[in-house]
Amino acid sequence: MSLLSQLDQIFVLLQHWVAGFFPTWLQPFVGTVLAVVGIVAAFPGIFAVTTVLERKGLGRIQNRLGPNRVGPFGFFQPVADGIKSLTKEDIVPFTADGLVHFLAPVVLVVAVFLGFAVLPIGRNMVLANMDAGLLFFFAIGASTELSVFMAGWSSRNKYSLLGAMRAVAQMISYEVPLLLSATVIVMMTGSLSTVKIVEAQGGFTGFLPHWYVFTPWGFAGFVLFVIAALAETNRSPFDLPEGESELVAGYFTEYSGFKFALFFLGEYLGMFSIAGFAITLFLGGWGAPFSFLGFVPSWGWFFLKLLGAIALFIWLRGTLPRLRQDQLMNFAWKFMLPMTLLNLVVAGAWRFMGEGILRWLICSAVLLAAYVLLGRVLMRHQKLGPRSYRYAE
C-alpha cells in the first residue's frame, strides 16, 4: 500500500487498529462506536470553526474585521462562546411545558447526528452503508420538524409559536422539492445508497470528473437542491422562522444557555449534513475534481467541498434579504415543484436520448425555457418589476 493511499485510508486503518485490541465478537461494535465518536467529535469541531469563519466572512463582506480578540485571529472565539453559553443561566419560562421544552433541543441534535450515519465522508468512510441510505437521511430529516415544533409550542411564547408554525410549514413545503430534486440522482444511479451514488460519479473524461452537476439536469437539480436545502435548514434568505426582525428569535426565543447552544449546534449540523448530501449527490462526494488531483486524500476533498458549500451559504446570507412567508410558500409550490418535476422528466429523457451534443442542447434549452417562462409569469403575476420615477422641477 502506497503512502498516499494509506493517508487516504488513515481513519479507516486507525479504526481497525484500535478495534484490533478487542475480542473478535466485540470488534464490529467497537468499530461502530469509534466511527460514531469520530463523527460526534469532528462535526461539532467544524461547527466551532464555522461560527468563526461565518462571522469573519460576514464581517469582511460588510467591511468589518469580524471577531479578532480571543486567541490568534479570533479563532478561539467559539471556546469563549461555549464557556459563555455553558455558564449562562438556563431560563425556562414560568408557564413553559418543562419536559417538552427540555426535550426539544435534545431531539433536534440527536436527529441531526443520525443523519450523518449515511454520509460518505471519504473512501470506505461511511458509518452505515445502507441500501436505502438516502431514504434514511430524508426520514431522519423529517423528524427535526418535530423538535422545532416542540420548542416553539412548549415555550408558551407567541413569537415562538409563530416561528415554529412557520418553520414547520416551511420545512414540509421544501421537503417535497428537496426529495424530488434528489430523485433525479436516484433515477440515474439506480440506487438509494449514498456510497454507490458517489462511486457512480467517480470516472473522468479527460481530466474532468463525471459529476452530476456537469449535466443540465444535474445542474438544475443541484441549484434546486441547494435552494431547498437553504430553506430546510432555515438559512438566509429563508430564515423566517428565526427572523430576528420579526419574531425576535423564532422558535428558540425562550431558550438560553446550554439549550440555546444545542439548538445552535443542531442548526449548523443540519446545514453540514444537508451540504454534505448536496456534495454527495451532485458534486462527486469525496471524489477529486480533476483526475490529476487524485492523490489528495478523499476525506480532504469532502471537507474542502463542505467548506466551499458553507462559504456559499455565508455569502448568500451576507447578501440577500429575507422572503416573506407566503412568498416562500408560493416559491416552493409554484416554482420549485414544477421545476423539479420538469427536471425529472428531463433526466428521464436524457437517459434515453443516447450520447451526443443534441441531448445537451435539448435538455438545457427545455430547462432554461421553463425557468424563464415560469419566472416571468410569476413576476408578472405579482406585478413586480423595475420602475421608473418622475421628477418635479
Binding site: F94, T95, W153, R156, K158, L161
Partner: protein
C-alpha cells in the same frame, strides 16, 4: 396666498354665523391668527379645507398653549365713606383674569403649495377655563394629522377633545394623573415609583399558572 384678513372675510362671507376674530401677532414673523369659537370650529375648519381657493388640506402642527390665571393689580378710584364723608380714594384691587387653554392649528395647502409663498394660516380655539375637564371639539375628522397631536394635547395639557376617535394618553402612561405641560404643574416628589400596568400583568400570569395548562 391671501392675508389673514382676507381669509377672515371669506369665512365670514361663507359662514356668517361663525364667531371668528383676528389675533394680531406683533413679532417680525407677522403670522397672524384666527380665533374661532369652539362651537363653530368644525364648520370653519371644514370650510377652510374644502374651499377651492384656500384648499388648506394640510394641517401641519397642532399644539396647546396654557394661559394661566393672571393676577392683575390695578389702581381703581373708589368712593368710600371715610369718617362719615364721601371721598374718592385710590385703592389697589387685585383682579384675577381667568386663564384658559388654547389649541393652535397651523394650516397649509399642499394642493396649491406652489402658487405663492404660503405662511401658515393659524387657527386657535380657547377653552372656557382651565379646570380639569375642559373641552374643545376635535378636528381629527377634518385633518387626520390632528389625531396624535390632539391626543398629545389631551395628555400634556388636559384638553378633552370631544369627538376624537381614540382619546387616550399618548406620551405619559395611562395611570399618570397630572398634565405636565401646564404651567402650574409640579413634579411629583418621588417619580421613581408610579403604578404601572405591570402589576396587573403579574397577577394575571399568576392566575394563569395556577390552572394546570396554559393557552399557547
Amino acid at each position: 396666498m391671501k392675508s389673514t384678513e382676507e381669509i377672515l372675510a371669506m369665512i365670514q362671507a361663507a359662514l356668517p354665523a361663525a364667531h371668528v376674530e383676528l389675533v394680531l401677532n406683533p413679532s417680525p414673523s407677522a403670522q397672524h391668527s384666527l380665533r374661532v369659537a369652539p362651537a363653530d370650529a368644525f364648520a370653519v375648519a371644514s370650510f377652510l379645507r374644502e374651499s377651492v381657493e384656500l384648499a388648506l388640506d394640510y394641517c401641519s402642527n397642532v399644539t396647546g398653549v396654557d394661559w394661566p390665571d393672571k393676577e392683575i393689580t390695578e389702581k381703581v378710584k373708589v368712593t368710600q365713606l371715610v369718617d362719615g364723608e364721601e371721598k374718592v380714594v385710590e385703592e389697589t384691587v387685585k383682579r384675577i383674569e381667568p386663564g384658559c387653554l388654547e389649541a393652535v392649528y397651523h394650516l397649509y395647502s399642499m394642493r396649491r403649495a406652489h402658487e405663492a409663498i404660503a405662511g401658515p394660516v393659524v387657527l386657535r380655539m380657547r377653552t372656557v377655563n382651565r379646570t380639569d375637564q375642559v373641552q374643545l371639539p376635535s378636528l381629527t375628522f377634518v385633518w387626520r394629522a390632528a389625531e396624535f397631536q390632539e391626543r398629545e394635547i389631551f395628555d400634556l395639557f388636559g384638553i378633552v377633545f370631544t369627538g376624537h376617535p381614540d382619546l387616550r394618553r399618548i406620551l405619559m402612561w395611562d395611570e399618570f394623573e397630572d398634565h405636565p405641560m401646564r404651567r402650574d404643574y409640579v413634579d411629583p416628589d418621588d417619580y421613581e415609583y408610579e403604578p404601572t400596568p405591570h402589576d396587573e400583568v403579574l397577577k394575571r400570569a399568576e392566575a394563569q399558572s395556577k390552572s394546570a395548562g396554559v393557552t399557547a
